[in-house]
Amino acid sequence: MEFAELIKTPRADNAVLHRPFHPTVEGTLCLTGHHLIFSSRRQDNEEELWLLHSNIDCIEKRFLGSLGSIVIKCKDLRIIQLDIPGMEECLNIASSIEALSTLDSVTLMYPFFYRPMFEIVEDGWSAFLPEKEFEVLNSVVSCFLSFILSICIYVRRSLRLRVLRLCFLIWDYLFPQVMMRSSQPLTGTNGRRCKEDEKLVNATLRPGKRGYIIDTRSLNAAQQARAKGGGFEQEVYYPQWRRIHRCIERFNILQESLIKLVEACNDQSHNMDRWLSKLEASNWMTYIKEILTAACLAAQCIDREGASVLVHGTEGTDSTLQVTSLAQIILDPDCRTIQGFESLLVREWLQAGHPFQQRCAQSAYSNSKQKLEAPVFLLFLDCVWQILHQFPCSFEFNEHFLVTLFEHAYASQFGTFLGNNENERSKLKLQQKTMSLWSWVNQPKELKNFQNPLFEANSLVIWPSVAPQSLQLWEGVFLRWNRPSRFLDEAEEEMKKIVDYNRFLQDKVNSMRKQIMEKETEDRIDRMDKMDRMDKMDEMDEMDEMDEMQENP
């Protein structure tokens, strides 16, 4: 298929671009296979807007006489309006955008066409291979690895009971405690058992140790799952484990929540009660609290109880991942570095099979009735932001990094978030055909935009507060386009300036101190040399005298 077939009108002159908090710009609109490009014709201060078609969530057409307007609502929640003179051009452009933003074939997506303009220092595709990660793990706890191998034999058989996923060690924390994730066991209504699964799950605990199974569904939902062949662990067969139910919402309920929240944020009404009741009705903050609470619980079991934890919901690809990855951020300082966080995403989200393509196909402005979209990943990022907000000095990355990840999960020139699991990704040959997001992010030039100036490595476990008073709406995402950012950006700059200047001073003082010290040692050596020489001369004098005395008895 040629993109040209879809582009009925590739160009419109005298178009007008409206963006909130920006002056309107007149210019030329161009459509390419993957981008909508708007360029002002002013030579002095040329403004350009490049918008990926895949970033477009939905468009609306409006007509006033022969002047048509297209309202473009993006997956990153931005809304822009384009006025296009000429009814036909406007209709053509609208239908082209609609067609180009809803291509069904993955291989037609931009990442397959994108050629990077930067030099790849480190290939992001090979940066976080499982072997590499395990190597780290291996070196840290080699004895534990052999233990894993010994249980691996059970894994194959255990598969019969579990849907899709198997128990997988994802994190070690000072040997005895492990955190695992899986899918639900297929106990069904008859209470099916699987000896191998029981052995596998029980084998992860040493005798006398205990573990917690955190089921991310309510007890009710878990019981209902039995009717569909799923279910939960029976206490008698897993004697060392205690099961805790923590209800985390999923799928379309989350999607609706996002839609409601964004609708509330875009409401220009000055009615405070309406805003608060809409915020409350969206339930978004409730879900944030639920997810964080479950993650803290998992972390608490490991850190405070010294127990192992198995987390699962139904499939183990959504709420499970939110809980396990957040628990690791709370417990493990490595996950709070940029590299560590990237590694966490690769391990806990991409390799764990979070179906990014399905979940992020549409964002808050979608009106499709599909049930597969859900802002599971956005909720996770929001939770990370909440922790970052409470521990502003414990993360190597800043809010901008999280926002960027959100954007790229929904629309990107990179192949990282394409596909729904590793299997699909390898079939698509993403490694060969597309660029990894990490290759771009990890360049020193880009990295510096994502660094938190306040970061000070902190090896402690960080316990966030989950009280409603402590949780805030993530303005950086939800209000980003609804308010001018100038004053907050300036505060950010100022903060960086203060910290950077102090580092500079510290460096200067240290290097001067070192110089002085070196100089002083040199002097001391000189002085000692001198003294040595003088001593020797004295000795020689004495010897001479003695010689003389001997010669002249």
Binding site: I213, E235, P239, Q240, R242, R243, I244, H245, C265, H270, D273, W275, L276, S277, L279, E280, N283, M285, T286, K289, T293, C296, L297, Q300, R304, Q390, F391, P392, C393, S394, L460, I462, W463, P464, S465, V466, P468, Q469, S470, Q472, N482, R483, L488, E490, E494, M495, V499, Y501, R503, Q506, D507, K508, V509, N510, S511, K514, Q515, I516, E518, E520
Partner: protein, 629 residues
């Protein structure tokens, strides 16, 4: 001291409102000024100081097996829940506190006994620190249109105004006197702020005694004089900050609002800010929400909405933004009033000045603003804050709302204020503490009668002494920003956890950016000293310039990192403000040891009670059930 029958009670528990942590056990002391609790169970000495004047309510709750609970609510939103073993002790403490927290005579207030060992001269200089005349001079007054008059020197025009007021030059004495007879409590239109750039002024007064049809020629002349003092604009705004319904109801009592037909070229406008009673109830509801134990998100947001608190904050802000825009964009003067012109009017005029003039966003300027718009113009601090035993219906958080509006502005404009959040909280504390004379009484005349200026100290020099910890590290200086235009869409207003849940440290960010930056600022000074000292030393030793040597800077970098690591992380948030006499309010945690903090950080980790709602799989496993630390 005659109220204190039991100065010391042992074996008193202090419950933590939010956590299931084991209650602290210790000793309660009653002093003439403070209630002090010393926690004996903690590894480190931990003290909780509560100023008697800060106590809003004391309740004796029904007897429990653990003892007799005593619940204390403070005006700075500290809530202390004690359990006293003996009921008799509890009752004695209770009755003592009731009396101590509600003095009857002004002489019993702390300010009259507070002695910071300061010389008489310094005390007097302290009172002269803020001179309102200087601020009027800054605005260019007196000028062709405005003059400072002493018509009120014997409080003949208005006994709740200061002796010196600023009125239009064109208004004769007869006009002023005439107008005062037509304004509620004689509070005539006077100047609050003059925007020098276009001569537009903000003026304030009380409601006119217009009833249904009454007129007053002098009052009409007064408004005309104000309008004509701004020759650039053909009209002026008259803003009634009350809801229209309230203003209309006042007409029946012979009060009311200006009739547009009677005054030349005025544009009349209502801005519905609710009255003191609505605000008091709203705060009450808000505090109930803040005190709810482990509320769901939905409970909290619904409670926040139902309290109406943020709606009121937004109304005050909207009105101020309207004023600032009228002055700056429309170049029109504005006359503001509510009923008596000392609550809503004070809020709105002071905030509008803050939006228009960067001076008021400095330490000194903010003090001037409070002295001018609140203290001098007769905001009834004594009644609104309940300093003395009096009518509870007169108490209202009007000033708290003003402080919160400033905080909301700080959130939107982080680099525009010279001071930080702690400065606001300090002021808020002292409005209630009665430790300094500034906020005593209801108006200038009353303060003179109380001999405030001879017998007490002024707060401002004490705050200036602590400038280092109260400043905003992000402040970009006086000239960086001029007028502020805040966004007033509802999402721009946040719940101020640092105020209403200030003493629930577990809820605050565990690492505080402000403290971190303040540390940086202090470190910077030391480093700069070090650097210049070393620079002086270096020329005597010849060698390459230090900053050039790359390998050296690498070493330096490593060293700087280690030193950073060694700075204790603050998990408890900001230590409670220390009163200037060295006594601290709230929890005093003496330790700053990292391990200790870490431990407390863990302890603060709440709401994750494994014990609630767990589905116990294995009943035998119960003994090993997770215990909440």
């Amino acid at each position: 001291m005659e109220h204190i029958t039991t100065p010391k009670v042992e074996n008193v528990k202090l419950l933590d409102r939010y956590t299931n942590r084991k209650a602290a056990s210790g000793t309660l002391y009653l002093t003439a000024t403070h209630l002090i609790y010393v926690d004996a169970s903690a590894e480190v000495r931990k003290e909780t100081w509560i100023l008697h004047h800060h106590i809003a309510t004391v309740e004796k709750l029904p007897l429990t097996t653990a003892g007799c609970p005593l619940l204390i609510h403070c005006k700075n939103f500290h809530v202390a829940h004690f359990v006293i073993g003996q009921e008799r002790d509890c009752h004695e403490v209770y009755t003592s506190l009731l009396k101590l927290s509600q003095p009857v005579k002004p002489e019993e207030l702390y300010a009259f006994s507070y002695n910071p060992k300061m010389s008489k001269d310094n005390r007097e200089i302290g009172w002269k620190l803020i001179d309102l005349k200087v601020d009027y001079q800054r605005m260019g007054i007196p000028n062709d249109y405005w003059e400072i008059t002493d018509l009120n020197k014997d409080y003949e025009v208005c006994n709740t105004y200061p002796p010196e007021i600023v009125v239009p030059r064109a208004a004769s004495k007869a006009t002023v006197i005439g107008s005062s007879r037509f304004r509620s409590r004689g509070r005539i239109p006077v100047l609050s702020y003059l925007y020098k750039e276009n001569n537009a002024a903000i003026c304030r007064c009380s409601q006119p005694l217009s009833g249904f049809s009454a007129r007053c020629l002098e009052d009409e002349q007064m408004l005309q004089a104000i309008r004509e003092a701004n020759p650039g604009s053909p009209f002026m705004y008259v803003v009634d900050t009350r809801p229209k319904l309230n203003a209309m109801a006042n007409r029946a009592a012979g009060k009311g609002y200006e009739n547009e037909d009677n005054y030349d070229n005025i544009r009349f406008k209502f801005i519905g800010i609710e009255n003191i009673h609505v605000m008091r109830n709203s705060l009450q509801k808000l505090l109930e929400v803040c005190e709810t134990k482990s509320p769901s998100m939905s409970d909290f947001l619904t409670g926040l909405e139902n309290s109406g608190w943020l709606r009121h904050i937004k109304a005050v802000m909207d009105a101020s933004v309207f004023l600032a825009k009228a002055v700056k964009d429309e170049k029109a003067s504005v006359l503001v009033h509510c009923s008596d012109g000392w609550d809503r009017t004070a809020q709105v005029c002071s905030l509008a000045s803050l939006l228009l003039d960067p001076f008021y966003r400095t330490f000194k300027g903010f003090m001037v603003l409070i002295e001018k718009e609140w203290i001098a113009m007769g905001h009834k601090f004594s009644h609104r804050c309940g300093h003395l035993d009096g009518d509870p219906k007169e108490v209202s958080p009007v000033f708290t709302q003003f402080i919160e509006c400033v905080w909301q502005l700080m959130q939107q404009f982080p680099c525009t204020f010279e001071f930080n959040e702690h400065f606001l909280l300090e002021i808020h504390d002292h409005v209630y503490s009665c430790q300094f004379g500034n906020f005593l009484g209801t108006c200038h005349k009353e303060r003179e009668d109380l001999k405030i200026f001879e017998k007490t100290h002024s707060l401002w020099p004490f705050l200036l002494q602590k400038k280092q910890e109260l400043r905003n590290p992000l402040y970009r200086g006086f000239t960086a920003y001029k007028e502020l235009q805040p966004n007033t869409l509802p999402f721009s207003f946040q719940f101020w956890c640092g105020m209403y849940n200030r003493f629930d440290k577990g809820m605050h960010p565990k690492q505080c950016v402000l403290d971190h930056l303040l540390n940086c600022m202090n470190q910077k000074i030391k480093l700069e000293d070090n650097a210049s000292e070393l620079e002086n030393k270096l020329p005597f030793l010849d060698g390459p310039l230090p900053t050039e040597a790359s390998f050296l800077s690498k070493v330096g970098c490593a060293a700087s990192k280690t030193s950073m690591l060694n700075t204790p992380q603050d998990y408890e948030g900001k230590p409670p403000p220390v009163l200037t006499n060295g006594i601290s309010v709230g929890d005093t945690n003496v330790t700053s040891d990292v391990d200790q903090k870490n431990k407390e950080n863990l302890a603060n980790h709440r709401d994750l009670h494994l014990n609630d709602k767990v589905d116990v799989l294995n009943s035998e496993a119960k003994d090993g059930k997770p215990q909440h630390h």
